[in-house]
């Protein structure tokens, strides 16, 4: 089983230390989520992994060996900010992206047509990129990223800008790729997707890695003192309660964190006493969003 290792990456932009000693491992057949706030250093880390920009120090290893040109042939990248050659036709641009990977376009023609069909773009295969909608251009980019049958796929904010239907298509393809044993790394600031799809995560905050590991282990670490609550009524009394560390209120759904050693049952009794209508009470369940806010939102 292959393993990709990111070891002590550092990157400076002038005086700004954008990425600080970031290290993590990604296993084959896993979906790895690189999460963090905007400007945390996710894209810079991914660019260094892709060798688009060089790190000031640190290295990327595949099965213990530094990655080289061969790695570039086995990896594909979907950048955060989308762009394609506007004057080129859909098939021509897919062919071009294959040629720079050393793949003959004829070898992947049927696969390209199948992906276009899956994304409902088959009838636009001869259209110029500039004649496609932004969403459709994004789908073409995604197809370009996976058409070469890469072993490693890096997706920077893959879901941004897609409608729910296309988001579902994309999700199902990513899961399909995972089942094929591909290593998928995606960065996102949308915790819901990361929560549902990732096996492993790394949370970067202000250039530093603050969380890293299997998602279930991280959740276990944080969830012992958490309640996920869906309710009707007023729970503002919890804000002043000495048992409660934080309340992440979204209106009708809330995450409640307790201090170490406090009893979750006491919170349930309090809610009933304050005549709060409880629709869902999930003890020990913490969302990635809550973990994220706990770790990355501390400075606000």
């Amino acid at each position: 089983m292959s393993e990709l290792e990111v070891r002590q990456l550092n990157k400076f932009f002038g005086k700004l230390h954008a990425v600080k000693d970031v290290s993590f491992n990604v296993s084959e057949g896993a979906i790895f989520g690189l999460i963090g706030r905007n400007g945390a250093g996710k894209t810079t880390t991914l660019r260094m992994m892709m060798d688009i920009i060089g790190p000031d120090s640190g290295e990327i290893l595949l099965d213990g060996k530094p990655v080289g040109h061969e790695f570039r042939r086995r990896i594909s990248y979907l950048p955060e900010e989308r762009g394609l050659y506007k004057k080129m036709k859909v098939m021509d641009i897919l062919n071009f992206f294959m040629e720079i990977k050393g793949i003959k376009p004829a070898a992947v023609k049927n696969k390209a047509l199948a992906y276009l069909d899956q994304f409902q773009l088959l009838d636009r295969k001869d259209a110029k990129i500039e004649d496609l909608s932004k969403g459709n251009q994004q789908k073409i980019q995604f197809i370009a990223a996976i058409l070469s049958d890469p072993d490693f796929i890096i997706l920077d904010e893959p879901f941004s800008g897609l409608d729910p239907v296309n988001t579902n298509i994309l999700k199902s393809i990513i899961i399909d790729l995972k089942q094929q044993g591909k290593m998928i790394i995606f960065s996102t600031h949308l915790m819901d997707f990361a929560d549902k799809m990732c096996d492993q995560i790394a949370l970067i905050h202000q250039g530093e890695l603050v969380l890293n590991g299997a998602l279930k282990d991280i959740k276990k670490q944080y969830s012992g003192r958490n309640i996920s609550l869906v309710y009707e009524g007023d729970i503002s009394f919890l804000d002043e309660n000495p048992m409660v560390e934080a309340v992440h209120d979204y209106g009708n759904a809330t995450g409640i964190s307790l201090y170490q050693g406090e009893d979750i049952q006491k919170v349930l009794q309090l809610l009933i006493a304050h005549k709060v209508v409880i629709k869902k009470f999930d003890a020990n369940e913490i969302s990635l969003q809550e973990i994220f806010l706990k770790v990355a939102g501390e400075d606000d």
Binding site: R47, M50, I52, R73, G83, L84, Y85, I100, K101
Partner: protein, 422 residues
């Protein structure tokens, strides 16, 4: 050196450029445009020369008949659409004619009135009336005829040997000979000057037409972020090299096509340009080879510079507005080359043809006008190659540093810093 990744970039660039409407239009329109310019010139000359009405008066009947005979001969050889009425007349009768036909002369119904008095056989003084003293066109056409007639009348009245008469009648013929190192070549200075100007214009137009769109394309790649996807498979050096070589191939193809009519004219194989039959052009194979190699070095140099500028800026407007100093590297040599056309051996021309950037435009102009010493060619080639080497080195660094950089535009100080420390 050129791997499959660079080849794919080159292929895309060549296809995108050669099959673009802009490229096809420019490639075909320039020769057509030049033919139209020549054609219009010929057409205007025809209009100017046609439909003139001339009255010829002579005091001597003999002179009048000779004039009529000469003008008819010319008309038969080369129809010039000249309506001439001949009349024997003295000064008084001429005065009456002028007075009574003043309006016709002023309105241009009569374009000119020529009076050859009897005294002209002694003093060669004739009188020409027209409404436009500046109109040399008609006068130039009949001046030689009048001169011949006066001369013939003069020598016929004297008992002179035929060979003396023939000699006197003959005009001086100037044979224009260009001195070269390898020998002498019959030449026509006008033809060589025309080709020098044409080469200068071709280089200027082509360098700008190839380099400026390349800058826009690099900038568009950066702005649209497509460069990130490409750079995930190829290195910045491979991408830049592929783009530059691809654009250079497209530019070279265009230049090659543009040179075809020039070569055909030089070899006399283009009948369309018979209007220029009195212009001789001396172009040999080595001149064409040097011109194309020189162009290749030039286009690679300027493509590197323009590509680096495209990579530096976040939008096309900023890139274009910062191009002024680089544009001067093409514009100033272009104007210097124009001045060199009149004196290709001047110090300015000699130095200019061996200076970085200037050599690309100045040397081809000198080359077609004079026999440039071999050592000057050697210096020019070395200077161009050295310039290309350093430009590629520096611009490659700038490109690598800036292609993924966004935010504020770099200052010249920052650019200098990148070049120094990278």
């Amino acid at each position: 050196m050129i791997n499959y990744r660079t080849k794919a970039i080159i292929k895309r660039e060549v296809i995108q450029q050669i099959f673009s409407k802009r490229f096809i239009f420019a490639t075909l329109s320039l020769p057509v445009f030049m033919l139209i310019v020549f054609g219009l010139q010929f057409l205007f000359m025809s209009f100017e020369g046609g439909g003139d009405s001339l009255r010829v008066f002579a005091e001597e009947q003999n002179t009048l008949e000779l004039l009529q005979s000469q003008l008819n001969d010319i008309e038969n050889e080369n129809p010039i659409d000249l309506d001439v009425i001949y009349q024997q007349s003295n000064r008084e009768a001429l005065g009456v004619f002028i007075a009574s036909n003043r309006d016709a002369i002023l309105d241009g119904d009569i374009n000119g009135v020529l009076f050859v008095p009897a005294t002209a056989l002694n003093d060669k003084q004739v009188i020409f009336y027209s409404n436009n003293a500046g109109n040399q066109n008609l006068l130039n056409r009949i001046r030689a005829v009048v001169n011949t007639v006066v001369l013939n009348s003069y020598v016929n009245d004297r008992n002179m040997d035929d060979d003396i008469i023939d000699f006197v009648r003959m005009n001086v013929s100037v044979q224009n000979i260009r001195l070269t190192e390898s020998g002498t070549i019959d030449g026509n200075a006008g033809g060589q000057q025309a080709i020098a100007v044409f080469f200068n214009i071709l280089l200027y137009i082509s360098l700008l037409m190839v380099a400026a769109p390349a800058m826009a394309a690099v900038n568009e790649e950066k702005v649209s972020r497509v460069v990130e996807i490409v750079l995930s498979s190829v290195s910045p050096a491979e991408l830049m090299a592929g783009k530059i070589v691809g654009s250079a191939i497209a530019g070279f193809t265009q230049m090659f096509i543009w040179l075809i009519p020039v070569v055909l004219v030089a070899s006399g194989s283009l009948p369309l340009l018979m209007v220029l039959s009195d212009i001789e052009i001396q172009l040999n194979f080595s001149m064409l080879v040097y011109f194309l190699l020189n162009y290749l070095m030039g286009v690679l140099t300027f493509l590197s510079i323009f590509s680096a500028f495209g990579a530096m800026f976040d939008n096309p407007q900023d890139a274009q507005s910062s191009m002024f100093p680089v544009m001067m590297l093409i514009v100033v040599p272009f104007f210097l080359a124009f001045s060199v056309v009149n004196n290709p051996t001047s110090m300015l021309g000699v130095v200019g043809s061996m200076l970085p950037f200037f050599s690309i435009l100045v040397m081809p102009v000198r080359m077609v006008l004079i026999d440039v010493p071999l050592w000057q060619f050697a210096v020019a080639v070395l200077v161009n190659l050295a310039t290309l080497y350093f430009v590629v080195l520096l611009c490659g660094k700038i490109y690598r540093f800036t292609i993924l950089m966004t935010g504020k535009n770099p200052s010249w100080k920052e650019i200098y810093k990148w070049m120094r420390y990278s």
